[in-house]
């Protein structure tokens, strides 16, 4: 189908983009890679009056080493995240999850920040961002501010972004030397996750010293499996211990029911996939 008519502006700086958003008012939308927004526009599920294209703002693209963290620019493509050596070294979980996003075409067009700001609970990058305790750097008329991932995701497709704000980057604390795995469960390769689990672990002398586990599509927002994390710490990195800890994965969740999975099945999957994700992350 054909989108409804809209105005289009492509600012070249963040300040201009923020100004354009504020000027356009409530019905403005930010577009970056367009991999989520364009289908929505074509099906006329949304009809924004203005699109602010942030794809031509050079400062938003690329990955910067900030010492104890990586700052990933919002319009860095999935392909660039996949190929970046510093991501592989310091945020392996993010690379693992990005590898499972859609298909090569989408990964070349779609952006990291776009996927995060779209806040689709079935999106694959939200749980890793949450699990790695990332900070989201937002910029609005009043300047920049930083929001913790745990506070950023508010509801289905809803974030802490204000109308005049854009997501400019995601600061991911380095998890150097951590094992990581993203265990995705979907019916066909290109489909959204029914459930997926993002796991990162640090093993010291055969014992799990730290663990981070995030769940995809187990709620309206990505969730941390805190009970699993605490059950893991201090445990030997064995299949048995991991399975016991993973049994806590669905605690406190009330996932939605749809044609692919009812609530009980999703909770069951969360347990099974958590066990598999941690097992793979620890290399057991």
């Amino acid at each position: 189908m054909i989108p409804a008519a809209f105005d289009y502006t492509a600012p070249s700086t963040v300040d201009e983009a923020v100004r354009a958003l504020a000027d356009a008012g409530e019905e403005a939308k930010v577009i970056a890679g367009g991999q989520s927004l364009i289908p929505v526009l074509r099906m006329r599920l949304a009809a924004p009056t203005t699109l602010v294209d942030i794809g031509r703002i050079p400062e938003l693209r690329g990955i910067r080493d900030e010492g104890d963290a990586l700052l990933i620019g919002a319009t860095t493509t999935h392909y660039e995240v996949q190929r970046d050596p510093s991501v592989r070294e310091h945020a392996l979980l993010l690379k693992a999850a990005t590898d499972t996003v859609a298909d090569p075409q989408v990964r070349h067009r779609g952006t990291f920040g776009g996927a995060v700001a779209h806040a689709d609970p079935a999106g694959d990058l939200l749980a890793p961002v949450l699990a790695l305790d990332a900070e989201l750097v937002l910029h609005g008329l009043e300047g920049p501010r930083t929001v913790a991932a745990a506070d950023f995701f508010v509801d289905y497709f809803t974030t802490a972004l204000r109308q005049d704000e854009i997501l400019v980057g995601v600061r991911v604390p380095k998890h150097t030397g951590w094992g990581a795995h993203y265990e995705k469960f979907s019916r066909v390769a290109q489909a959204w996750s029914i459930v997926a689990v993002a796991a990162a672990v640090r093993v010291e002398g055969g014992v799990i010293a730290e663990a981070r586990v995030g769940l995809t599509n187990m709620s309206s927002v990505p969730v941390r499996a805190r009970a699993v994390e605490s059950a893991l710490v201090g445990q030997p990195a064995t299949a048995e211990a991991i399975r016991a800890a993973a049994a806590h994965a669905a605690e406190g969740t009330s996932p939605t029911a749809d044609g692919n999975a009812d609530t009980a099945y999703r909770q069951h999957l969360a347990r099974v996939l958590t066990s598999r994700a941690i097992t793979a992350a620890t290399g057991v």
């Binding site: 929505v40 074509r42 599920l45 289905y156 497709f157 996750s193 999957l269």
Partner: protein, 811 residues
């Protein structure tokens, strides 16, 4: 000229049409344009069943670029009723089927108004300004409930939701025994109810139609499988004189039966273009296609198989409910009936009864989809044979062999009265077992089962046959089909030695241009490259019955062959005149007429040039070699094959992974092995997709919830296994070429092979069925003692595209 030394038939030629089809450097309907072209956009009902109390189009008429807006009432006099060419019973009930709904809508997605605008975007924008009031009626969604006495009616004026009840009974037909007696005397009964889920053909190129009324003849370009049938039906439906219509199917990007249709949009485009005197075009979006183009399958199959303890089958009773959707489209009622003769499959059932009730529901109409009736039948019988084997503790292949027709029993008249000309089920099965490593995989399965492996191996078998080559006209007549089953062809010998082949078959991806060229190159002894195949235009190819039902090679190419024989016959007389000998003294081979026992020869192409000059022809001989032929087959053809599937079922998640897939098909003589391989691969992908992935789902209000390709799951290459394919070759004796057809084989055979494998993997958990598609949740639920049809609708928002509502938030 040089004759080809090596026969073309059988050669693995790359397809001559592929360069333009794969790169898209060709003419599809949507990339055609004509001066002054206007664009159409259709407003579709968002509700499944309602009376239209008012439609206000005034605001839409005033929108920028809008030329006209029509409702059903506006064109009621011109649009007629969409045709159904297959009234399966004399008392079949059929509703009026307007292209634009007039006073009632009967499925969500039915067109209620059309906007004509200068730009496509303007047409779509104006749709939003149309205001329709609907007075909702109760929906009719479930097949079984629809035929209950207390069901609301889709079409109250018909007094019932049952369109027709069609029966074949071998005792009544005199082709076999009485199935009720067989059931009464059975030592073993297998009784099952299977569900054929609703599928969407999902061809690659969306439907598109362009109508140009400029000039004496109105030209209709359409992305259709059936330009010839479309021309006749458009004439009959709208009252446009047939000779004033020209229909062109330019290159068409797939159909799978989904473009075997006379669509509402084609009729409306013709009516509107005629009324305005201006050319119009419509091209659907993908979501419009999934919603409103006809769907396929959708049956409930109640099955009873009777057998003796020793495994001999003694009777089969089939009771079907077949969902027609809201209307009868072109061949909707006949689709389940095409399966009537296939439930007995390759087995020697002595008694058989088939009864089918065609049912109306408030859903998108169903019609032909790859295999059309035969996949449903094959699924049922091949699932039942595995169930009987399990019941008797027998190996499923050995049990099949006990019951199938042996290779030395052909020709064999089945319990349905069909004569299978040839087949060799033993050979195909032996080869498949060998390639599969059947015994080794069974041993591994035992070992993993004993070990309690969390991933269980399952092995599924499908030994299928199908009836192809639709069809002998007299048989179609006996089934009340509205047309014949012949095909037409013509051959034109050009003076420069090149050859034009005109075919009534209408390729939409099959590779006819290559295959027909190979056949004609051999027959006339001309180079493959010198043959041009013309099709899909009622002006250049005036007669034809088009492409569906694996009929093109068995019927269409046979017509080409017959036309070629006439060319040679005409040329022989002239060649004899040129060489001053008797016709009987000439033999024709490799493109040359040679005087027997001499070196004297004249090439066919030289004869063609002499005919063009026409300076010296025998008395009374017309100066043309051009010939045409119409071929009506005497029988169907019966491809068969053995498909074996091994799956790994993850019992912790229910996920099914196909580990190995072997198929050995017997499609008779092969004209081009690459084309055959491609058809098999594509067919397998579609058949596997029915088993594991695809399902059109409606919610309780009758809304299609799988309305995008994000929700209607079509597998991609990474989801599919490597296919190990091979062939046995038992030539058909029902046609001169010995060919059987291959368009539907993979689709028909593979679905039960996969589901048999899935059930086999988890049978030890007490599972004997899992409804299609075998989703992870269904498999996991069945393993854990739950129902076989777990799933259904969620009521809450989830993730993904389908969850986004019109406000841009979550539904």
């Amino acid at each position: 000229m040089t004759a080809t030394a090596e026969p073309e038939v059988g050669k693995a030629r790359l397809r001559k049409e592929d360069a333009r089809l794969v790169t898209g450097r060709t003419r599809w309907t949507d990339n055609l344009t004509v001066p002054g072209l206007l664009h159409l956009a259709f407003l579709r009902s968002p509700v499944a069943h309602a009376r239209i109390t008012s439609i206000d189009v005034e605001a839409a008429r005033r929108k920028p670029g809008v030329v006209a807006v029509f409702t059903g009432a506006d064109i009621a006099d011109a649009q007629g009723s969409l045709p159904c060419a297959w009234p399966v019973t004399a008392d079949q009930k059929a509703p009026q089927a307007p292209s634009l709904a007039v006073d009632q809508v009967n499925f969500a997605g039915e067109a209620v108004a059309v906007v004509v605008a200068r730009g496509k975007a303007q047409a779509h924008d104006a749709l939003e300004a149309i205001d329709v009031d609907y007075d909702e009626l109760p929906v009719v969604l479930d097949l079984t409930a629809a035929v209950a006495d207390d069901s609301p009616l889709v079409h109250p004026d018909l007094g019932t939701n049952s369109s027709a009840h069609w029966v074949f009974d071998s005792a009544e037909a005199g082709t076999g025994g009485d199935v009720e007696q067989a059931i009464a005397e059975a030592e073993v009964l297998v009784e099952r109810t299977y569900r054929q889920q609703r599928l969407i053909p999902a061809f690659m190129e969306p439907r598109s139609v362009l109508v140009d009324p400029t000039g004496e003849q109105t030209t209709v370009w359409s992305a259709t499988q059936i330009p010839h049938i479309l021309r006749l039906m458009l004439a009959l439906t709208t009252g446009t004189p047939e000779h004033k219509l020209r229909v062109i199917a330019p290159d068409v990007g797939g159909g799978f039966g989904g473009k075997l249709q006379v669509t509402p949009e084609e009729v409306v485009a013709l009516v509107v273009a005629t009324r305005l005197g201006k050319p119009v075009k419509w091209t659907e979006s993908r979501s419009e296609s999934l919603l409103s183009a006809h769907h396929g399958r959708d049956q409930v199959q109640k099955l009873t198989l009777a057998a003796r303890r020793d495994g001999t089958v003694t009777g089969l009773k089939v009771e079907l409910l077949a969902d027609m959707g809201a209307y009868l489209r072109l061949v909707s009622p006949g689709v389940p009936i095409l399966g009537a003769f296939m439930f007995n499959a390759i087995y020697k059932f002595p008694a058989y009864r088939f009864a089918c009730t065609n049912v109306f529901t408030t859903k998108t109409p169903t019609d032909a989809y790859r295999g059309a009736g035969r996949p449903e039948a094959t699924y049922a019988i091949e699932r039942l044979m595995d169930e009987l084997a399990a019941e008797l503790g027998r190996d499923p292949i050995e049990l099949r062999e006990q019951n199938w027709i042996k290779h030395d029993e052909f020709p064999f008249t089945t319990v349905c009265g069909l004569e299978y000309d040839t087949g060799n089920y033993e050979a195909a099965t032996a080869r498949a077992k060998e390639m599969f490593g059947y015994d080794e995989l069974r041993a591994e399965q035992r070992e993993r089962r004993e070990r309690g492996d969390s991933v269980q191996l399952g092995i599924g078998t499908s030994t299928f046959t199908e009836m192809c080559g639709l069809a002998p006209s007299r048989v179609l007549g006996s089934l009340s089909y509205g047309a014949g089953g012949w095909e037409h062809a013509a051959i034109r010998m050009l003076p420069s030695g090149k050859v034009e082949v005109v075919t009534g078959s209408s390729a939409h991806g099959q590779g006819h241009e290559t295959a027909w060229s190979q056949i004609v190159a051999d027959q006339l002894g001309v180079p493959f490259e010198d043959v041009e195949v013309l099709h899909g235009d009622t002006q250049s190819s005036p007669r034809g019955l088009d492409t569906y039902g694996s009929r093109s090679l068995t019927v269409g190419a046979m017509a080409v062959l017959k036309a070629g024989e006439k060319v040679i016959r005409k040329a022989r007389r002239i060649a004899a005149h040129m060489m001053e000998c008797a016709e009987d003294d000439l033999e024709f081979a490799a493109g040359k007429f040679t005087v027997k026992g001499t070196e004297r020869a004249t090439a066919l192409t030289d004869v063609a040039l002499a005919v063009f000059a026409a300076h010296d022809l025998p008395d009374g001989v017309e100066p043309s070699l051009d010939s045409e032929a119409t071929f009506d087959p005497e029988n169907f053809s019966f491809p068969h094959g053995t498909h074996l599937c091994a799956v790994d079922v993850d019992t912790e998640t229910g996920f099914v992974k196909i580990r190995k897939y072997v198929c050995v098909d017997d499609v008779g003589v092969v004209v081009n092995p690459i084309i055959v391989e491609g058809q098999v691969h594509g067919g397998l992908a579609q058949g596997l997709a029915q088993a594991l992935y695809e399902e059109a789902v409606h919610d309780e209000s009758g809304t299609l919830t799988t309305g995008t390709l994000a929700d209607y799951l079509i597998p991609s290459a990474v989801d599919l296994p490597h296919f190990d394919t091979d062939r046995t070759e038992t030539p058909a004796t029902s046609n001169q070429l010995g060919v059987k057809g291959v368009g539907e084989a993979g689709t028909i055979a593979s679905t039960p092979a996969v589901v048999n494998a899935v059930v086999d993997a988890v049978r030890h958990f007490g599972v004997n069925d899992i409804q299609m598609p075998c989703t992870p949740m269904r498999v996991w639920t069945a393993i854990n003692g739950g129902p076989t049809d777990a799933g259904g609708l969620g009521s809450e928002a989830g993730g993904g595209l389908g969850s986004i509502d019109t406000s841009g938030g979550a539904a």
